[in-house]
Symmetry: C2
Subunit: 501 residues, 2 copies
């Protein structure tokens, strides 16, 4: 196996165990790892590092690192390191329960960020110096070029910035990933040039990652699949939300605002997003394209059916079944899929130019259309912003969607005032729940409020929302954006006490 995957003689000489490789990571180091939504993360070294941390901690030593990723990883990376409280700082997106617990418990600092910003933040030194890059690749070519794995993320940036590099060469990833990627770096000002992508299918870079072989201190061979990202069939609410969105897109085409093959699609992750993709796949569309962040089962179905002719992303994130299909038919998929650095997949320049149709989930929206994507009841971090801000602000259409109720109907996802703002009303054009779709484009706050209450809120919460709005309009703060600041969070306070909103 190793003969095939590590062809560079220089790097073959650095093959070692995960345990030995982990010894190159020291207490206080900043470590930039590969990995995006459960794909392409290092599978072996993090656990070996966690064991070293536990040993050090037993000896009374503080062994923690700063952990920079692409986005979320998996139990054997984020999970292993946070479980032993081995991370002092984490950026940007995460979804691991161990990580979430430490972050919300105040044991680790977590800096959430727009995913397109992370590479430049790091290059500019906002997170300090990068000591180690720990990157999974599919293969090392004879001349040292690296065949990227199932996620590109910030890998090239980590390889460029790090003082030391550890490569995990994963034989479970298809060697035929070679050629699927498009690695392009924008650099830092003042020497940046236009990114010349004018359609999702355009390639502007090269299909390989580059690394200075002198910096590579270890190569670890692994053979482990990516996370099985469960794919569940859409439930009734998701199908209804998808139905409203599909009706709306039909309307936009009919109005002549967008072409019959729509504009490039961006879809967040989850059940609702899957339902929208399934609906598009069953619909009358042809020659659809995607310029998105993560490619999931739904879009893979659309490629297989021929509806989706090109999908650009920074990572794939599949169920075990879809991953097997992806690997079995990768020569065909390679014609339709391009994986780019997340700085490019999420770049405002390209998203705005292409006029992406952006669809993302949320935790709650308020009656004015401000959206909370991250903080449960204003304080507890769920997963982070991800690319929602990169897409929503720059898209042709920014759609946010959620079922209208949470916690078995106790909580309303439409509230008087969101307890945390991730997307302001200016970046939220369309809100959708199972009850309906509010097209907020061109509306002022008081107009938005009436429409959101009418179209999106669950009927049982509509009277209370309308009452809040009516009293706010009559109150001392009943101006451009009417609010009752003394009770704006009463709904959340009830929820904090475990009561229905």
């Amino acid at each position: 196996m190793s003969e095939n995957r590590v062809q560079s003689p220089a790097l073959r000489g650095k093959i070692m165990s995960a345990e030995d490789a982990a010894a190159f990571i020291h207490p206080g180091d900043n470590v930039g790892v590969s990995g995006f939504t459960g794909s392409g993360h290092p599978k072996a070294v993090p656990s070996a590092l966690a064991r070293r941390m536990t040993a050090a901690q037993s000896a009374g030593e503080d062994f923690r690192v700063g952990l920079w990723t692409g986005a979320s990883t998996a139990p054997e990376c984020d999970g292993a390191l946070f479980k032993v409280n081995g991370v002092s700082f984490r950026t940007p997106y995460q979804s691991d329960p161990e990580c979430r617990g430490r972050v919300n418990g105040g044991e680790a600092y977590y800096a959430d960020a727009h995913l397109s910003h992370v590479a430049q933040n790091a290059a500019w030194g906002h997170y300090g110096e990068l000591d180690v890059a720990l990157i999974e690749v599919a293969a090392v070519l004879e001349d040292g070029r690296l065949v990227p794995s199932t996620a590109v993320g910030n890998n090239q940036t980590w390889l460029d910035l790090a003082k030391r590099v550890i490569l995990e060469v994963n034989a479970a990833q298809s060697a035929r990933l070679e050629g699927m990627h498009d690695i392009y770096a924008v650099g830092v000002p003042p020497r940046r040039a236009p990114i010349t992508i004018v359609s999702s299918a355009d390639r502007v870079g090269l299909p390989y990652l580059r690394v200075d072989p002198e910096k590579v201190v270890a190569v670890v061979e692994t053979n482990a699949l990516d996370r099985d990202t469960k794919f569940s069939e859409p439930d009734e609410n998701s199908r209804r939300i998808a139905g409203h969105i599909l009706d709306f897109l039909r309307h936009e085409v009919k109005k002549g605002r967008i072409p019959a093959n729509l504009l490039p699609l961006q879809s967040g992750v989850g059940n609702v997003a899957n339902a929208v993709m399934a609906g598009l796949n069953d619909g009358p569309y042809e020659n659809l394209t995607a310029y998105t962040e993560v490619l999931q089962d739904g879009m893979l179905d659309m490629i297989r059916s021929g509806k989706l002719v090109c999908a650009s992303a920074t990572a794939v994130s599949f169920s075990a079944k879809a991953l097997a299909d992806f690997n079995a038919n990768i020569d065909e998929y390679r014609k339709r899929i391009i994986l780019r650095p997340q700085e490019i997949s999420n770049h405002p320049e390209v998203i705005r130019r292409l006029g992406v149709i952006s669809m993302n989930g949320m935790l709650e929206a308020d009656i004015y259309g401000n959206v909370n994507s991250t903080h449960v009841l204003g304080s507890r971090m769920m997963n982070g912003l991800g690319g929602s801000g990169d897409f929503a602000r720059n898209a042709y259409l920014s759609i946010f969607m959620t079922p209208s109720l949470a916690k078995n109907g106790a909580l309303s996802c439409i509230v008087p005032m969101v307890s945390h703002v991730d997307h302001t009303e200016h970046d939220v054009q369309v809100l959708v729940t199972e009850h309906g779709l509010a097209d907020l484009r061109g509306l002022a706050p008081r107009q938005r409020a009436r429409l959101i209450i009418e179209k999106c809120a669950d009927p049982k919460f509509r009277p209370a929302l309308a009452d809040y709005l009516a009293r706010a309009e009559k109150g001392a703060n009943g101006m451009q954006t009417p609010h009752l600041l003394g009770e704006a969070f009463h709904w959340h306070l009830r929820a904090l006490k475990g009561e229905p909103m």
Copy 2:
């Protein structure tokens, strides 16, 4: 005079009085006017229209229009029309007291928007159809091309979209503005191409506006100066804020993150911005550039001194004295100043590529670095977002600044939770008050809070802010972003009652 300024024979035949021209505007029309921060707005027709409105209203008729602009105009435009309650809908930025009163009084709908979004929003029909474009120009050439005035704003978009066009040809504007502008349209997806601006000085379009002469229903000759935008010498607080920013920029250069001539500057309007420009003008810098929205007295000083070699903007907004200098020396200034459509001056693609240093004022920030730029006590609209969001999210550095206190020290501009969010913590890298500068880059919320309280809050409010943070951290909502939702707005509620915070 008219011989010189309206050279097109076809359009000369359409010269008429403002009163006659105003008759082309009907009740319920949407009217797109020129004008940006008191410059380049129509000077005569709005007042004539307001007189028609008053007459119609006396006869019991509802005569109101939708008013779309570049940004703020002046008393003879926004002021005249709002005074007679003649506007039902207004977008995007405004600063007129009559307008603000109607908007906050619930008599007019106001849709605030990122200034870079307005042209595409209109082109996509978000605001309905555009009936009339009412555009000030400096001259009409023989072949019908238009020499733009002191503000470009959305003028080309209004000319393209409108069913009928009224031109005001203002002899008080220098005819030698010709050649200063760079008019370029990005169009709508899916046919957009890269905007090939790679430095502030690049020109990618043509120096003229175009209009279908068949659509021009009236040409009105005027002779009136732009608004005298008062320029006051920086006060002590402004000088201190500027001092902190100048120290910080020096530090960034020393760290090698930005070149010795910095990166292109964007500066919001007002006293603090002026102080920063004055400081840069007195500093050791050479070959500075600006990629900004509005060019004010401060930058004109820097061009005159030779420090600023190129300034790109969408409008100038000068004091009477600076305007006289601008007009007297326009042949020199034309070598250094480029005026572009606001879609380009504020375009995320260009701002991000150039790595602009963005400096904007604000009303308040919270301890986590969320910024309120628009809503006094969460409800009363001041002026609108302007381009702050276009710049802040895409800049190399996004700096927000304010004196630490308002209302003679009764109110703190650093609060536990902002009463309205225009810029989320992810888009706010640096906060500055007269007390100090908080460099928030790469920090998590709990780290940001300590730094903001220490560096930016007025000393008399620091204990209460620290107490809020400490109790929030211990409370049920003491997680990623600790908050006490039951008292997050207590400071604002006291202010609403007229008490000190």
